[in-house]
Symmetry: C2
Subunit: 254 residues, 2 copies
């Protein structure tokens, strides 16, 4: 068993919270929270900003999103159980957001897991959005920060899921190369081991996952493949006063 780098003289912690309901147990002293919902909310957010969307307003309920249907300049998006909610044109599919010209628009989005996790962590000093799409940009930016970092997996209906945990492990793996970051929690070590098990083929993790069947039934294979392809964007969405905006940072020049 390869040992996780401990960096005994670290100054800041990088930890993983495997499910949203455990967030209060891990949140203390964590200045930066990275919200992760690989399939598909946070992937869709990164893709949408990459295509010129100006703002995303994450909302917890479908009704809040519904109020924006048909409003000029706004795109209302709602997903529950992997499907677009009736009455909406968009759910949480990143590919759907890329098929239209959304330049300058505001998306109001409610999803089963991702937007709930954002709501939970909204009081963090800094809340940013992570997905395989912006993996390297995110890690580059995190590497420059002098603060504790919590990687918050959105899970599936508050259950553990593989793709969010493996993504968290990928981020851990990069950050622990730096002496300034260290780890204290078993959950963080587990995420790294899961990433090592999956690193050679992100798609294979879903072959192992029973949830694949559900995704196949919903004909989402293209979306899934897209969401598991790293480094398609340099955008890091960050939450400011309840609204997600692309971060402006020197390291994020395309």
């Amino acid at each position: 068993m390869k040992a996780v780098s401990r960096n005994p003289d670290y100054r800041y912690r990088v930890e993983v919270c495997l499910v949203p309901s455990q967030f209060p147990l891990y949140a203390e002293d964590m200045g930066i929270v990275v919200v992760i919902d690989v399939l598909r909310a946070t992937s869709a957010m990164v893709a949408a900003f990459d295509r010129g969307v100006e703002r995303i307003i994450p909302v917890a309920t479908v009704d809040e999103a519904r109020a924006y249907i048909g409003r000029p300049g706004y795109i209302a998006a709602a997903e529950r159980n992997g499907e677009v909610v009736e009455g909406f044109d968009f759910g949480n599919s990143p590919l759907a957001f890329m098929q239209e010209d959304l330049s300058g628009k505001t998306i109001v989005m409610s999803t089963t897991n991702g937007t709930k996790a954002i709501d939970l962590a909204r009081n963090a000093r800094k809340l940013v959005i992570g997905s395989f799409l912006n993996l390297s940009a995110l890690c580059d930016w995190l590497s420059e920060q002098d603060d504790n970092i919590l990687l918050l997996c959105s899970g599936w209906r508050d259950k553990f899921n593989l793709e969010d945990s493996i993504f968290a492990g990928a981020v851990m793996d990069r950050l622990l190369e730096l002496d300034k970051f260290g780890v204290e929690e078993d959950s963080s070590i587990a995420a790294q081991y899961l990433f090592w098990s999956a690193r050679d083929n992100f798609m294979s993790l879903l072959k192992a996952a029973p949830r694949r069947k559900r995704l196949e039934q919903l004909k989402l294979q293209d979306d899934v493949k897209f969401c598991l392809t790293p480094d398609q964007s340099r955008v890091i969405p960050e939450l400011r006063d309840g609204v997600l905006m692309p971060m402006e940072a020197p390291s994020l020049v395309k």
Copy 2:
């Protein structure tokens, strides 16, 4: 990434609940619950029965255990934060239970994590106790059952821990060799991957774990080594009317 055996035609599920607070999300339709607290409550229980203890009464609070101090035929045991609670002669150390002749005695035990998990799952049709000490005996018995099985990790103050999850993965690994068992949850797959990462050296997992520092400070290395040594006993404790007793089953003859 080696794929987890799916056994598409399975009749019963084997699943892993990684932390006690998630138990309600996984408990439905689970006839058999295996409570796991490798360091150290469930290891101590198996060791105590192996040395002739007649009954163990798990209690949730220290005060409930305290009422039995000095009572003839009873051993009161209480552990909090890895240490024996003041006023008690025993905590959750399996080696301590083995240093005395406890034949025919009743232990009343309260621990930080393990006895709370037992309390949580007490209404299961069948509740049994698992640890590396009785790994093969447990798997032999589980293999013969025709029911869904939930492996409930006690964790550490409701946080995920490596040793319970890896033990759960070890059980998954054995049971999924049988066509009759299958898996639906990502948590169960993760446990199996963690077991594969650790299987060559159970001790190494704790070398990776920051909690090792705490265990070293408490001078518990001997206990830890003992708790991670598989197949020292054929005893399977089971809960009957709130009391743990050694199960009597044909496969458990020593």
